[in-house]
């Protein structure tokens, strides 16, 4: 399981950002998590709580927005949702594609702070 080390990176990153803004108090961290990022949402949520212990982020929330997988479809000539994570073809026309354009995100998107 690597969710704990990822949770620790998130906490570290959030603390840095708080520091840059004059040590504001962080109430929540908003994360964008692609379904192809290789990170399990539930494992990350429980790891986050652990990673926050004894840091200024203790008691803060992790809010995860899951990002669906999209591919570039050469037939539609457009970015399209994938049929499923087990079947990489265009959800609209069925053309297979390995060109992933969305869904690998693992990004601290925003912080909810109190000054």
């Amino acid at each position: 399981m690597h969710e704990l080390s990822i949770a620790m990176s998130i906490v570290e990153m959030a603390q840095e950002e708080a520091g840059l803004r004059g040590n504001v108090q962080i109430q929540a961290v908003h994360l964008r998590l692609g379904l192809l990022a290789g990170v399990v949402k539930d494992a990350l949520l429980s790891s986050y709580e652990m990673a926050c212990e004894t840091t200024p982020l203790e008691g803060s929330r992790l809010i995860i927005e899951e990002i669906p997988v999209e591919i570039y479809c050469s037939n539609c000539k457009a970015q399209r949702p994938v049929h499923s994570i087990q079947y990489f073809c265009c959800a609209e026309c069925g053309t297979p594609s390995a060109e992933v354009t969305r869904g690998k995100e693992l990004e601290v998107f925003a912080l909810e702070i109190r000054e």
Partner: protein, 232 residues
Amino acid sequence: MSPEPRMVEVRKNVLKQNDVIARALRERFREEGILAVSLVSSPGSGKTTFLERTLTLLRPNHRVAALVGDLATENDAQRLARSGAPVKQITTGTLCHLEASMIQKALDGWDTGKLDFLFVENVGNLVCPSSYDLGEDLRLVLLSVTEGEDKPLKYPTIFNSADVAVITKMDLTAAVDFNEQALDRNIQAVRPGMQILKLSAKTGEGMQEFLDYLHKSQRLRPQAASAATSRN
């Protein structure tokens, strides 16, 4: 009274540090003319036997070395050293994957001389390694015929992140009632167009095709300072 909470935008990649190091490694490999190949698989896929055979076959004509990620309880490095190639172990402790910084640290101060191929054996795990770019040119995902044809559907993320699927232990196909078409179909479903190589490190079947593939990749690799694309 404290004011209402407010939102501030950050937009930072959590693995940024890893990706920056991976990009630097990739550039370094290109400048030094090294083809870096990483291997991911489940435990028991025959990865170490396959790599030992590969090193042994390449060594007479090429400069090769291997980095091996081992959990505290394992020692694949010792087995690989039998090939005669320089081998260095990276003990990951309880960590289930390699990160770019570990590769960088292992390479610093390791005098291998000039290299043609560097192999990086990841920890036996089909989940965690998928998130971490190691700066490799090629990522091989290994699967033995004994593991079942539906494995790609169970671990689509790692298969999707890999460049080549290597099917090992082909000498056991009859014994385990291996359905080759189903496996090919499942691999193509999670990674359309993926190159699939089938071999047996034990009998040597398919090894030459694999070496040919490595040589072809080495010839076709992008040159240094070109637009290096990251995995992510």
